[in-house]
């Protein structure tokens, strides 16, 4: 399958493919044309193999752009995958080629898919003693030392195969090609029980306490062949004892005229294409460098068959060994020279080279210009982790400084230059990590191959680099309009100079002014260059200027990956009661109350095909309300929060937390109560049941169950640890059915033959233990509707059985939260969180009666004496009757005094908090918070609704049965 002989198109199909390349042939389409590539290609290498030079166009200027780099630092070659599933803004250099890939080049901006992504995504938590980021020479060495001593190690690398910088070079380790050494070494590590090797995994963010986020691309490279049940991408949330950042470096370029033309490429990238992908990115090349590293690239490319027309070295003295090798090979080295311009129509066809001393520029025909402006250690994660950076004069770049976290950089990431030194540095980092994790540290520096640091060939002594950021362009008139510093953002030297000219002297400000470094490549190749140009313009040192802040994510991450499985039905927990299945079967519509799904209303279903559409919400709610007021109805009230409060000081605690007195409550009785925050604002309400002298059951609103329990614990633990009270949540221990209406007593009597239900035996605001429908139950006579009503509590295991028993005779109408809201609003009972918003006191609600005058103190009491809480213009809860009884006010509508709106700002008197149609009142009504509302009863106000001002009359908030005649049935 994987033989070169399978290549159908022959060499002509991939004209830039080197001889001897092997691998399965893959077919793909780019910008509408069919191509072939080889297994192991990236989209970028396959395009280069086919001679495709312009891959994308730039976002602002629309200039053609080609492949610039060979990894995740690529600024130019942005593509969109169209098939098998659309994915925008990918770098062609990181897209692994697969059969059937269809992609297009982007004009700097992609398009989101217009259909849901069918792939699975997930996340996983992981823990390790040592996390090593980067499986290059230093990373493999660090992981090897730590793993072989028994530490739990995670080794993550963004590429499909380990080796890092070894992949692009022809270097040998232990006499083997570096790539082979890396593969074997990592395979051996992966076989250890406590080691996890994560390939295709990019570490995106390094947060507090060594919390590190990585994304693993698991099936992206399989295209349509990806198995549907395997998560396509996985987010790793890693908590590491110690982190070793062996992240290597990025090559940077130099600002000269036309440095963005297709055919201009980082020298190291070209070397990787030639060595690793066996692709020649051009035929005839000029090399432009500030340092020795480009010589290795030039020699490797020459070996591969690229004609090296000239090497322009900004220095007078390149490394002697390199110069000698070039001389041997007959490569022309122009010392003290710069490239002043890359020229060509749509791509490089010639390169203009000039001596730095001046004189006539020389134009050299070439289709490839390799640039090396030096190498920048990848310090992103170190900086994200809170580490400082310091300028390395010799490197011309920032390297890791101090850090509070258990993290260190190793290898080139901290500026270590040679392969041998990087291997040793990685091993040292591994030893330090081991020691920090409490493991015995093997003696070092051990060099025997296979166990610690492998032997590497000696490298020529390096000559110092010269740090050149910008090549002046004499013919340019100082415009610098094609001297790019940020290729992805299309930012030129000209713009940076204008920013400096406008008075900006900090790189952070220049970044924001020009947008340099803000594209989705995060300025990996351009960040330092921008700083260099700013420093040059200001005449200061790069070191002095500093660098911009590095922020996560290191590379772009899809929202799908971040969402993981937390979408659709698993987006947020859906809490259901024991009766939920019944509600679903009965066709209830549901309302979200916090995380709970509560039946909203139960529309009567249409009968017969097409003739009877069934009930709408209005009809269903009016019917449910009538049943509750005139007959008998039931609601699932299981979601109310319930807390067992136990202990000799239970009554003391409740007296301190509720505004009213709870200690005087008799065993067997129930009292309604309100809790306030210390600022006097209503926090929650509910009933308190006294089960015994030292035992109460407190109910809370559905949404506040956890908050009230936390509130009690907070006071008990932090302020009143001397109180002997314990609070335990029993919210889901009990299922609750509210049985409501004038006939509820009759229904209860039938269900609970052993319970005396007459008013004297079982009066309002008392509770009884009884057997209801054969189930042990606690029945409470409380009412949230003003009608005769009971709440029947049973073990939630029996909740469904109780509900079914209540419904069995068919005479009880099930009702939902909407009806419950109408019924309580007709009675003027507020709902915390709907009619209150954290700025409302009990007095504002017209509930002066719930605030004890006898208690010396309770939470909130002192605030009722503040000037602010007694202002006459405070908003009071009042009723509103629209003058047209058919008009339903929208909740949230504001209220004004005048029948015509004055010029803005319009003074508002308050707003509608609840609004319903009432079966009992035969009209619409609303509750509202209105400034000085109680003094306005009888007044006419106006609610702006759309273009209209709806006249309403202010009334008492109690609109139905104000004398309370109905609660005893």
């Amino acid at each position: 399958m994987s033989e070169r002989s399978e290549r159908t198109g022959g060499a002509a199909a991939q004209p830039h493919r080197r001889e001897g390349a092997s691998g399965r042939v893959l077919r793909f389409r780019f910008d509408g044309r069919e191509y072939e590539g080889l297994e192991g290609d990236t989209l970028a290498s396959a395009l280069l193999a086919n001679g495709v030079r312009a891959v994308a166009s730039s976002i602002r200027l629309g200039r053609p752009r080609g492949v610039y780099a060979a990894g995740s630092e690529e600024p130019n070659a942005l593509v969109q995958i169209e098939e098998p599933f659309p994915e925008p803004m990918l770098q062609a250099t990181t897209v692994e080629l697969y059969d059937g890939l269809v992609a297009t080049g982007l004009p700097g901006q992609g398009r989101l898919a217009d259909r849901p992504d069918p792939a699975r995504y997930d996340a996983v938590h992981a823990h390790c003693d040592v996390l090593v980021v980067g499986a290059g020479p230093a990373g493999i060495a660090a992981a090897g030392v730590a793993a072989r001593a028994g530490a739990r190690v995670i080794l993550a690398d963004e590429r499909p195969e380990p080796g890092g910088s070894l992949l692009g070079t022809a270097e040998t380790l232990d006499g083997r090609p570096g790539r082979e050494w890396a593969a074997e070494e990592v395979a051996a590590l992966a076989a250890l029980p406590e080691v996890r090797v994560l390939r295709r995994t990019t570490v995106l963010g390094h947060y507090d306490d060594n919390h590190v986020i990585a994304v693993e691309r698991r099936t992206n490279h399989l295209g349509a062949a990806a198995p549907a049940d395997v998560a396509r991408e996985r987010v790793w949330r890693i908590r590491a004892g110690r982190v070793v950042l062996a992240t290597g470096g990025h090559e940077r370029f130099v600002a000269f005229a036309g440095n963005d033309l297709p055919g201009v490429m980082l020298a190291g990238a070209a070397r990787t294409y030639a060595n690793h992908y066996r692709v020649l990115p051009g035929r005839r090349a000029v090399v432009f460098t500030t340092n020795d590293s480009a010589y290795a690239a030039a020699l490797d490319l020459a070996d591969a068959g690229v004609e090296i027309a000239a090497i322009a070295d900004v220095r007078q003295a390149p490394g002697e060994a390199w110069a000698a090798r070039c001389a041997e090979r007959g490569l022309e080295v122009l010392t003290g020279h710069v490239v002043t311009a890359a020229k060509g129509e749509g791509e490089v066809s010639s390169v203009e080279v000039a001596s730095r001393e001046g004189g006539q520029a020389r134009e050299i025909p070439a289709d490839l210009l390799l640039v090396s402006g030096g190498w920048t250690p990848v310090v992103h994660l170190f900086s994200q982790a809170g580490g400082t950076l310091r300028y390395d004069e010799e490197l011309g770049a920032f390297t890791p400084g101090e850090t509070r976290q258990a993290v260190e950089a190793a290898g080139f990431a901290r500026g270590v230059r040679t392969l041998r030194a990087c291997l040793e540095d990685g091993a040292e980092a591994g030893r330090r990590a081991l020691a920090a994790a409490g493991f015995a540290v093997p003696a070092g520096p051990a060099v025997p191959s296979g166990t610690a640091v492998p032997s590497a060939g000696e490298e020529p002594a390096a000559a110092p680099a010269e740090h050149l950021w910008l090549v002046e362009a004499p013919g340019d008139g100082g415009d610098y309009g094609t001297h790019f510093v940020d290729l992805q953002r299309d930012v030129t030297v000209g713009e940076v100079l204008r920013a400096v000219g406008a008075g900006l002297t900090s790189v952070e400000h220049v970044k924001r002014y020009t947008t340099a470094g803000t594209a989705h490549d995060q300025g990996k190749t351009s960040g330092l260059l921008t700083g260099g140009v700013v420093a040059h313009a200001l005449g200061v040192d790069v070191a002095e200027l500093g660098t911009t802040t590095f922020r996560a994510p290191y590379t772009p991450v899809s929202f799908a990956a971040l969402a993981g499985r937390d979408r659709g039905p698993l987006h947020d927990p859906v809490r259901v009661t024991a009766m939920h299945e019944w509600h679903v079967a009965r066709g209830a519509l549901f309302e979200n109350v916090g995380q709970w799904k509560r039946p909203w209303y139960y529309p009567r279903r249409g009968e017969g095909p097409g003739e009877d559409p069934g009930e709408d919400m209005e009809a269903a709610v009016l019917r449910e309300c009538r049943a509750a007021r005139e007959d008998v109805a039931a609601m699932d009230a299981s979601t109310l929060g319930k807390i067992d409060v136990v202990g000799p000081d239970a009554a003391v605690l409740l007296d301190r937390l509720y505004t009213n007195m709870m200690s005087t409550l008799k065993v067997g009785s129930i009292r309604y109560g309100v809790m306030c925050r210390p600022d006097g604002m209503v926090f929650d309400d509910g009933t308190v049941i006294r089960l015994a002298d030292d035992r109460f059951l407190v109910t809370t609103t559905t949404g506040n169950a956890a908050a009230v329990l936390d509130w009690m614990e907070e006071w008990l633990q932090t302020e009143w640890p001397d109180l002997r009270v314990c609070c335990t949540s029993v919210t889901e221990q009990w299922a609750t059915v509210a049985l409501v209406g004038p006939r509820s007593r009759e229904v209860l009597a039938r269900l609970a033959p052993g319970l005396a239900v007459d008013n004297d035996s079982f009066p309002f605001m008392t509770w009884r233990d009884a057997e209801v429908a054969g189930i042990e139950a606690r029945v409470c006579r409380i009412s949230f509707s003003g009608e005769l009503a009971y709440e029947i509590n049973v073990s939630s295991w029996s909740g469904l059985a109780l509900w079914e028993a209540v419904m069995a005779s068919g005479e009880v109408t099930p009702y939902g939260t909407e009806t419950m809201h109408v019924l309580r609003a007709e009675k003027g009972f507020p709902i915390v969180g709907q009619d209150t918003d954290g700025t409302v006191t009990p007095q504002d609600l017209g509930m002066e009666w719930i605030v004890s005058k006898k208690k010396a103190d309770f939470v909130g009491k002192r605030s009722f004496a503040r000037a602010d809480t007694s202002r006459p213009d405070r908003k009071h809860l009042v009723g509103l009757l629209p003058e047209d009884p058919g008009v339903l006010l929208p909740e949230g509508a504001h209220l004004v005094e005048t029948s015509a709106l004055p010029e803005p700002p319009v003074p508002t008197l308050g707003f509608v908090t609840s609004s319903y149609r009432s079966a009992a009142l035969g009209r619409t009504f609303a509750l509202a918070l209105v400034s000085g509302g109680r003094e306005r009863v009888g007044e006419r106000l106006y609610a702006p609704v759309g273009a209209d001002l709806v006249p309403v009359t202010v009334t008492s908030h109690v609109l139905y049965d104000p004398e309370g005649a109905r609660r005893d049935g």
């Binding site: 997930d122 908590r239 698993l570 859906v574 919210t731 889901e732 221990q733």
Partner: protein, 204 residues
């Protein structure tokens, strides 16, 4: 008379429905491959106990139920058919077999002998889900931030923590993990577990 009591108990037992009952078939299907076992253990007795660990009552309670209350945070202690899970410095969950609640409440209350102790039957507050098998840790790691490595969270360890977005009591046993899940969250956690298991179940 005794017969009719037994009959009525049996009748009311028959009416009980556990929070994850609807998932039994899907749990079984997910467990068929062998790498993973998902199941609900319904109707276990669970008593929330709060008592000062240094009080004589705490000691008496340990003696009365035959299991000294574990005072090391995050641990469980077992004896007979009871297991006591540490929930907090003065809080435990006493877990026993179905039907043991009334007797256990009585024993605990008697052992307190008037000292301040909170004994609350919370058997129906949470249900118990089993996540066992070779892939149990992998499945849980998708939603649990704790380090579940056997050296860190081996048998006898207990934690109140989050699984995905639900609070759980996580108990490590010799035969896998148990999750004590609030009844209202049981369906969510069950769906979540089934979804998290997809990769480990497919292909058996």
């Amino acid at each position: 008379m005794a017969d009719s009591v037994a009959a009525s108990v049996a009748a009311s037992m028959a009416e009980r429905r556990s929070p994850a009952a609807a998932f039994a078939a899907r749990f079984e299907a997910a467990s068929a491959g062998g790498g993973l076992r998902l199941a609900e253990i319904p109707f276990l007795t669970q008593i929330n106990l709060r008592v000062d660990p240094k009080s004589p009552a705490a000691e008496r309670i340990g003696t009365a139920i035959g299991v000294p209350l574990p005072v090391e945070p995050g641990t469980a202690a077992g004896g007979g058919d009871l297991e006591v899970l540490w929930l907090g410095p003065d809080e435990w969950l006493v877990v026993g077999p179905d039907g043991a609640a009334p007797g256990l409440v009585e024993r605990l209350t008697e052992a307190a002998d008037g000292e301040h102790v909170s004994v609350v039957d919370v058997s129906a507050q949470r249900t118990t889900l089993v996540v066992a098998g070779d892939r149990a840790r992998d499945v849980l790691a998708h939603g649990c931030a704790l380090d579940l490595h056997p050296r860190v969270f081996g048998p006898g360890r207990v934690a109140q923590t989050m699984l995905a977005r639900a609070g759980v009591v996580l108990v490590a046993g010799a035969d896998g993990f148990r999750l004590l899940v609030r009844s209202s969250f049981a369906a969510y956690v069950a769906e979540w577990l089934l979804d998290a298991s997809v990769e480990y179940v497919a292909g058996g």
